[in-house]
Structures are given as structure tokens and as C-alpha cells.
């Protein structure tokens, strides 16, 4: 194989593998209050999926699918939602980030109130941050 040529095996395997990595990341985020895992770990798995796509298909194709502006917006938007949830808890539940949803018995329905929402917010935010750092490193090394 010549230098700089793209390998078919790496391309096809990573293309088939990336959706399952993203699904596993979402599973870790959404089951963070029931099983080991949580927002930070699931967000890192989401970022690792996109980084695998970058490494196997190049930065241009990946950035066409996941644009840099939208990911930067996602990161800033998620921390705004975090603070807004805190203010909503402050108004309704009388404490900052207080829980406003009713807590049932754990055996009936696995609802955790704010824990699930905060896990989702933190996971998307951490994934967006890792993808942003990787994009900026790639653009730096191209020049």
C-alpha cells in the first residue's frame, strides 16, 4: 500500500462501528443513575466516536456532517440550560438545583428527577468539548 492511501478495511470497520459507539455513549448517559456510568464518562465515549470518524475518514468529511459552529453552540447552550435548571429549582423547590419532579419508589419506575436531566446536559457538553478540542488540533496541524 502506498503512503497516504486510505485502507478499505479501516474505513468500513470504523463506519460500521461508530453508530454503536455513539449508542453506547447515550446508554451510559441515560442510565447514569441506575448503573455505573454517568455524564462525564458517556460524554467522553460520544467524543471518542466522533474522533474515530475523524481519524478514519478525514477532518473535512466529518466537519461537513458535524459542523464546528453547531458543536460550539451546543457546548455553550448546554451550560446555559444547566444554570437555568438551577434557577428553576431555586424558584420552585426553594434551593438552587433543587428537585422539582416527584420521586417515586425505585422499584416502580426508574425516575431520578434532576439527576437524569443533569446527566444528559453534562454528557452532551463534555462530548462537544472533546470534539472541539480535537477539531482545533486538526486544523492546527494541517498548516
Amino acid at each position: 500500500m502506498e503512503k497516504g492511501e486510505r485502507s478499505e478495511i479501516v474505513s468500513i470497520i470504523s463506519r460500521k462501528l461508530v453508530p454503536y459507539i455513539l449508542l453506547f455513549g447515550l446508554y451510559l448517559i441515560s442510565y447514569g443513575h441506575l448503573s455505573p456510568g454517568g455524564g462525564f464518562q458517556g460524554g467522553v465515549v460520544l467524543g471518542a466516536g466522533i474522533i474515530l470518524l475523524c481519524l478514519s475518514h478525514g477532518i473535512f468529511l466529518t466537519e461537513k456532517k458535524f459542523p464546528l459552529e453547531k458543536i460550539a453552540f451546543l457546548e455553550a447552550f448546554m451550560i446555559t440550560i444547566f444554570i437555568l435548571l438551577g434557577i428553576v429549582g431555586l424558584i420552585i423547590a426553594k434551593s438552587f438545583l433543587g428537585n422539582i419532579f416527584p420521586l417515586k419508589k425505585i422499584e416502580e419506575v426508574p425516575t431520578a428527577g434532576f439527576v437524569f436531566l443533569l446527566n444528559l446536559v453534562i454528557g452532551l457538553k463534555v462530548g462537544a468539548g472533546i470534539i472541539l478540542i480535537f477539531y482545533s488540533l486538526c486544523e492546527r496541524s494541517e498548516k
Binding site: G32, H33, L34, S35, P36, G37, G38, G39, A72, E75, A76, I79, F82, I83, G86, F96, L97, N99, L103, K104, I106, P110, T111, A112, G113, F114, V115, L118, N119, I122, K125, V126, G129, L132, I133, S136, L137, E139, R140, K143
Partner: protein, 86 residues
């Protein structure tokens, strides 16, 4: 001579700090375990999360987690700012 006095001062401060930490933060006394026992026994009912780690860092210490995410936001924005092209 001056260096010797400085070294002895530093060594004595380190030994004093070690003694203070050994006796002050000795957490094996039963009266100091009340907070952690409360987290373990009541954490599932009060926050609704079976995972005790989640119930602590998103239930009891959620304000701490907000600061942690702000630290991450500042880190990412500074990296993007320092690595931009021009």
C-alpha cells in the same frame, strides 16, 4: 549557614503539617462518619438514584458539579482560542 537554617525551617513546617493532618483528619472515629452514613442509607430515597456516586455528585453536590463544568468550558474555550489559525 543561611541555607541550613532555611532547610531546617522547611523541614519543621512539613513535620508539623504531617502531625496536624494525621491527628486532625483521622476519619475513623464513629462520630465523624455521620455524613457518609447518611449518604449511604438515605441517598436512594432523597435523590432517587440507585447509583450512590450519581446521587452524591448530582444530588447533594450539584453546585460543585456546576463549577466543574464551568472549569471545563473555560478550558475548551482557551484551547480553541490559543490554537486558532491567525
Amino acid at each position: 549557614m543561611n541555607r541550613w537554617i532555611k532547610n531546617i525551617l522547611v523541614l519543621s513546617v512539613i513535620i508539623a503539617l504531617g502531625i496536624i493532618f494525621f491527628y486532625g483528619f483521622n476519619a475513623h472515629l464513629p462520630s465523624k462518619l455521620a455524613v457518609s452514613n447518611h449518604y449511604i442509607t438515605e441517598g436512594e430515597k432523597e435523590t432517587g438514584a440507585i447509583n450512590i456516586v450519581s446521587s452524591i455528585y448530582l444530588g447533594y453536590r450539584a453546585f460543585d458539579t456546576l463549577g466543574e463544568t464551568i472549569v471545563l468550558l473555560i478550558t475548551v474555550s482557551s484551547v480553541v482560542f490559543l490554537l486558532k489559525k491567525n
